[in-house]
Symmetry: C2
Subunit: 327 residues, 2 copies
């Protein structure tokens, strides 16, 4: 059941049905009414697939994230969705575990589906990959720091946030600080580590022997911090690359029989909802997930509508320290 049946029932051409529905061409009141009646009677719903083939627009944007189970990303997705829904764009999200193959697979699939725009929180793809696989095939916003200068970019001021956190710890007289990052060269850990390094350098210290690594998960943080706490020089404070890891740090401390923050202070990054729920409350760097998603959406909208045809934009959103009980 398609537009032809509606046209037949209403006694008009398919063109007229199309225009009666889209409003892109004037239609006499009588005709409009007959079309509406036919549509209602048949329960007709235009095929988005056929429309997309014809117009070369899918009214879809795709969001790639490493881990949808990390509450940070649903918040991003919501921001993106709210921003683009206003222009009738639908959002689809793919979670790739930061795996290069799956990241590439998702991007390829979305290109095959001809999405109108793509937002990437990528762990594994670099500028060259993007140039090769995406090229100019769709509008692209990259939300992973330091990846590209060819495409639009929306990032948090990660380094600044961590620098503020580390400085806060140092100002409390804590010297034995450590940083728990993700796998080397993967994800936002390194950018955040840079802020940590900067804070230490300002007081004449180095990060030598102060960095542990692990997956960006609760288990990853717990393992890394357990190792740290049982090592030769137990740190008095750990700054983690994200909140999930920081929650893991809390668990590691509890298992080691250490009090937080007295024996070991813990700082996270992101300020996910759970940060306020754990005990003690997690001191963390607030990363405005929703806002990030919203800005990605706005950027895409400008490109898709053709309003914005300038060179790549580079949008940075601020981060700030939220002090709770853990440090």
């Amino acid at each position: 059941m398609g537009i032809r049946e509606v046209a037949a029932l209403a006694g008009v051409s398919t063109t007229t049905v199309s225009h009666a529905l889209s409003g892109r061409r004037a239609v006499s009141p009588a005709t409009q009414q007959r079309v509406d009646a036919a549509v209602a009677e048949l329960g007709y719903r235009p095929s988005a697939v056929a429309r997309s083939l014809r117009t070369q627009r899918t009214h879809t944007v795709a969001l790639l994230v490493p881990d949808i189970a990390n509450p940070f990303y649903p918040a991003v997705a919501r921001g993106l969705q709210d921003a683009v829904a206003a222009q009738d764009l639908f959002t689809v999200v793919g979670s790739t575990d930061g795996d290069r193959g799956r990241e590439l697979g998702f991007v390829e699939e979305m290109l095959a589906r001809q999405v109108d725009g793509l937002v990437l929180f990528t762990f594994a793809l670099d500028d060259t990959d993007l140039q090769r696989v995406v090229g100019e095939r769709t509008h692209l916003v990259v939300a992973s720091g330091g990846v590209t200068d060819r495409y639009d970019t929306v990032t948090s001021d990660d380094a600044h946030g961590v620098e503020e956190a580390a400085t806060y710890l140092l100002s409390q007289g804590i010297q034995d600080v450590a940083f728990v990052s993700g796998p080397e060269g993967v994800g936002p850990g390194d950018g955040r580590l840079a802020g940590f390094t900067a804070a230490l350098r300002r007081v004449g210290m180095t990060t030598e022997g102060r960095v542990a690594r692990g997956p960006y998960t609760v288990a990853g943080g717990q393992a890394a911090v357990t190792a740290l706490l049982s090592g030769p020089s137990r740190p008095a404070a750990v700054v983690c690359a994200n909140d999930l890891m920081a929650v893991g740090a809390l668990r590691a401390a509890a298992e080691a029989g250490l009090r937080v923050p007295e024996d070991v202070a813990v700082v996270g990054f992101d300020d996910i909802d759970a940060a306020a729920l754990v005990t003690p409350g997690l001191t963390t760097v607030r990363n405005p997930a929703y806002e990030l998603g919203r800005r990605c959406g706005q950027t895409l909208l400008g490109r898709i509508s053709g309003t914005d045809v300038g060179p790549p934009r580079d949008i940075q959103v601020p981060t700030d320290l939220v002090v709770r009980g853990s440090a």
Copy 2:
């Protein structure tokens, strides 16, 4: 750049290119090679849109959930995705806040996009709605209890889980138990309340004055339990319709200066990751989110492939009590 250019460059017909790519018809090695070369040279990627229009299959299933920020649902999504990805189906998810208008909007949109299957965790739609808007237009699995007998169904044994939890509390000698449900007639709260009612009835008690209600969120649970705790007959235990609300209950207790579980015991439902992270650990009814999603996916697969043409199936997955510190 489409299949025609590839055909031209390879010196064959578009038919042959199509078959060389799909493997649905034998192609001579020499031709295959020329096609592959042309594809590589042009960076050709078949249009999923055109293919869908032709084949009337989109290789997409949609999942409707009330709240993607509730970690329960990402876990469901993952289960669904893992199940259907094996058959090359892509999963899209829509979060509707349990709002009737948005639920209808999402379903309509997915039908317009001609998804191959639809999984609904709906709060607001009933059998009549589904019959009217979905009809036979796509394969449908309903994962909200008690909504339909016309479509396939995958649900948790909610009542049993809550009954077990309430019985556990009663067996501890706690008599003043209360249940915190969602808004009346909305979502899984009522089905869970039924289990609570059953447990009480078995010991000759009624739920009279023992039920509070609120949105299915941390804030909702906190507000409802705050009211309960400051009321005339303060309960010694609250069973909540989901873990988010139970976390809210924990906060309400803390704010009221009450110890958990000594002054007030708290039980949740779902066993989301956060249940193990809060202090004290949340005693809760485990709701196998991933498994639920997986079963929804398998059911859909059977229908989509035509393997399963029988009457509506009704799959129920078991729940069980997980005892931690909060009760």
